[in-house]
Assembly symmetry: C2
Homo-oligomer: 143 residues x 2
């Protein structure tokens, strides 16, 4: 895959020309292929992107651990890619996936289990769709 391209080529062309940020990363959005639900947002470096395309399963790059990460490697909660898309300037990837188990490391289906609402002094959060599918301690063997 090429990583340098003009804006027109990148936006209207049919070759994959990912625009990695200063840290070498793209943003990746994963949604549930069946329900459309937003499951998680994570990052891919070039290697993670290539492995995802080649294997048909999601690989990411963990910014906190600075390491390539096969989704589900520890938990078994893999993501099978049903469709992958890129956006206009090719700095983001969208994957529609078949999620095994829970997408979120907290044991919830989705990472987006809290609503943000305006409140005195700024904002407040409220749990929504926050039930756990699995016990994270059982899956990851730690708190």
């Amino acid at each position: 895959m090429s990583t340098s391209a003009s804006s027109d080529d990148r936006e209207e062309g049919l070759s994959l020309q990912p625009k990695f940020d200063a840290s070498g990363l793209l943003t990746c959005v994963a949604t549930d292929a069946a329900t459309g639900e937003l499951l998680m947002v994570a990052h891919m470096n070039e290697e993670a992107l290539r492995r995802t395309i080649d294997s048909g399963e999601a690989w990411y790059f963990s910014r906190s651990r600075q390491a390539l990460w096969r989704k589900g490697e520890t938990s078994g909660h893999i993501q099978r890619v049903v469709e992958m898309r890129t956006d206009c300037d090719q700095d983001a990837i969208w994957i529609r996936v078949e999620q095994t188990g829970a997408a979120c490391h907290t044991g919830r289906q989705s990472c987006f289990y809290r609503k943000v609402e305006p409140a005195e002094g700024g904002a407040k959060l409220t749990f929504v769709d926050a039930g756990r599918l699995v016990d994270p301690k059982a899956v990851y063997g730690k708190d």
Copy 2:
């Protein structure tokens, strides 16, 4: 809003404690509130997040222009926020919006108008849902 917090607080608490990256940004995913379609992925700095919460309309921070940006300021294609959520570690925001006009600056409903598929030598793109709602030259007055 507080920006420093323990992992537990951030993941299980009910106060907004956004975790901005080294550039002071969060990732923001916008989906269509009616259809669930993924419209765009962009970034918010603290000011953009606050303005979005306060006004109920999407504000972003443009990395390329290094400027605060009210979505639709030039095009009129504003996004009214129906619901906002944050994710487990509070480094991403999801907004479900009522999109006026086209979300993408290319004039398309969504920025994700190309599918990525494995191909000889890496990957190829295919247009999908790529019709333009509006002529970007008419909206932005330039190519």
